[in-house]
């Protein structure tokens, strides 16, 4: 039996974040939480592997706050079998590095995990660190940027990954950590029946004591975040002469 852990991050809906025009500060009041879009490609990859390899178990793993159950339901409706949620007040000051260590500790605690799947990056933070950090924390090989042909063959994972200079067809015996690109698949929209069934799938919550991961020791702080100032002319051109006016303006600006 193959066990796959797919990572699901809960992220603010970044498109809905408003920026204070005076201070540039982001306003997260009333902004909804959702599954980080790119993680759905990871869930889809895990569920497709399960469909092709009967007996496979898919666990959705997430670390976050009080409303984690709401977004994890979407991963369960897409076809994950169960969920493990990492939540503890002690995790509040964990940075990217420590969150990856906590996730790796949870995967170790599950035991006998064959494949770990992460997205290339998250919707809100896009540091792209979690997948490779977990591989190194667990001492496992990494296949990053999987873009096509992901399959399990005789105890090995085969896939095509996309790096800067082209594609690489690779093979690795399990256990292995993968990061997936959006180009790998089109995440399914669960049907109503699957959404209803998702409520009955098992969910576990593990805290600091369950993980036994010790003190949280962050190595990075993020004291501020604000929109960069942008000054643009904002000239709207209209009417029959709009295109000619634009061409003349661009000639004057030295564009052509």
């Amino acid at each position: 039996m193959v066990t796959i852990v797919t990572l699901v991050k809960q992220s603010p809906d970044v498109e809905a974040i408003r920026i204070d025009p005076k201070t540039g500060a982001p306003d997260l009041n009333g902004v909804g939480l959702k599954v980080s879009d790119y993680d759905k490609n990871g869930v889809e990859a895990a569920v497709q592997l399960k469909e092709k390899n009967p007996g496979t178990r898919v666990i959705a793993l997430s670390l976050g706050g009080p409303k984690l159950e709401e977004s994890i339901k979407e991963a369960l409706a897409m076809g994950c079998d169960e969920a493990v949620l990492l939540r503890d007040a002690a995790f509040a000051n964990a940075d990217t590095a420590e969150k990856a260590r906590l996730l790796a500790t949870a995967i170790k605690k599950m035991g006998n995990v064959d494949i770990v799947i992460a997205a290339e990056e998250s919707l809100d933070s896009h540091s792209g660190q979690t997948g490779p950090r977990i591989a190194e924390e667990l001492g496992l090989p990494l296949i990053a940027y999987v873009t096509e042909n992901l399959r399990i063959e005789g105890g090995s994972v085969k896939a095509t990954r996309e790096v800067d200079e082209g594609l690489e067809d690779v093979e690795c015996a399990t256990p292995v950590v993968l990061t997936v690109l959006e180009s790998l698949n089109h995440p399914r929209l669960p049907a109503l029946m699957q959404i209803l069934q998702a409520k009955n799938k098992p969910q576990k919550v593990w805290g600091a004591a369950d993980l036994g991961a010790g003190d949280i020791k962050p190595v990075l702080s993020r004291p501020s975040s604000a929109a960069p100032k942008s000054e643009r002319k904002g000239l709207m051109l209209a009417g029959e002469s709009a295109v000619d006016d634009l061409a003349k303006a661009l000639a004057k600006e030295g564009v052509i």
């Binding site: 690489e168 067809d169 180009s183 190595v219 702080s221 643009r232 904002g234 634009l246 600006e253």
Partner: protein, 324 residues
């Protein structure tokens, strides 16, 4: 600011840029190389020292072995910083190295400056809506910088530096590479393009992109695209993808054609000198960050603009371009 930055990239241009970056921050650049032959060239480009790392499993640039070898080189030279390019290769190595060195990792640093004897950084955050300040507190910090964001130092054969060999033993990466399929040389270099025509979801079919390629050919620009055209629709390859997870462009003029202006895309065009937006929806966010805007159908505006700009240039507009 004193200190050492160990720089690593798997192409020469990337190494030159990171050497220049370290130099600009008053750090002493030490280059990580896999062959002795590269050393004198790296010294000529400003490396004060080159560590030539030798050992099994390094030739394929797999992230585990490279991270392990970099950790050995960091220990050897005592670097406080390790700089990598924010490319796919660099971004898979950096977090693994972060674990090995108990280091903070800054992904895609847009700025770096000194505060109290240490470097602090800014990077795009919240889907690109903000720039976050990131302050590492680790003894060693790993940083990836967007490629093509600094000019290399001019080569100077009179520069001198030490070359040191370091033999490392790294574990077997276990990932077997069965085949490599390099990308065909497309000649696309969006980061250096003086004019970029960005294509978005306003295009209804792949073939219609010829309107953008025609305009680009007339005015000496290149075509780029938004995330969905490169991913979901697959009309153009990743090389054309502009945005937070794609390329960052800084042309003198950026034409956004049929692009709504989602933050994912606009983070990649912020440094453009002039932004021109063409969209049927007058409320599209792209108009808020444009210098010039035309509310209209790109299927009409682009050919008209192609003709009008050609006229300004005293030439015939290009038509019938092929879509790659």
């Amino acid at each position: 600011m004193t200190g050492i930055a160990l720089v690593c990239a798997n192409d020469k241009q990337g190494l030159y840029e990171l050497i220049a970056k370290a130099t600009s921050l008053n750090l002493t650049p030490v280059a990580f190389a896999l062959s002795e032959g590269a050393a004198s060239d790296l010294i000529a480009h400003g490396a004060s020292k080159v560590i030539v790392v030798e050992g099994a499993h390094l030739a394929d640039h797999q992230p585990g072995p490279i991270a392990e070898a970099l950790a050995a080189a960091q220990k050897d030279c005592g670097a406080q910083y390790v700089f990598l390019p924010a490319t796919r290769r660099g971004k898979e190595v950096a977090p693994m190295l972060g674990v090995r060195l108990h280091a903070a990792v800054i992904t895609g640093a847009q700025t770096a400056h000194e505060e109290g004897g240490k470097l602090v950084f800014e990077r795009l955050f919240l889907g690109g809506k903000t720039m976050a300040k990131e302050v590492p507190t680790s003894a060693v910090t790993v940083v990836t910088f967007p490629p093509r964001s600094i000019e290399p130092l001019a080569a100077d054969a009179s520069r001198s530096g030490e070359t040191k060999k370091l033999t490392v033993t790294v574990r077997d990466p276990k990932v077997k590479i069965l085949a490599k399929k390099p990308k065909a040389e497309s000649g696309v270099n969006l980061e250096a393009a003086p004019i970029v025509i960005g294509a978005g979801r306003g295009f209804k079919n792949k073939d219609d992109l010829k309107l953008a390629f025609d305009l680009a050919a007339t005015i000496g620009g290149q075509v780029g695209c938004t995330r969905p055209l490169a991913t979901d629709l697959g009309w153009l390859t990743d090389e054309y993808w502009i945005g937070l997870s794609g390329k960052e462009v800084k042309p003198k003029a950026y034409f956004a054609a049929g692009i709504s202006g989602q933050i994912q895309h606009t983070t990649g065009i912020r440094s453009s000198k002039i932004i021109i937006a063409i969209n049927t929806n007058k409320d599209a966010p792209i108009f808020k960050m444009a210098d010039y805007g035309i509310v209209g159908d790109l299927y009409k505006v682009l050919p008209a603009l192609n003709a009008a700009l050609a006229k300004q240039m005293g030439k015939n507009p290009v038509s019938g371009s092929k879509v790659p």
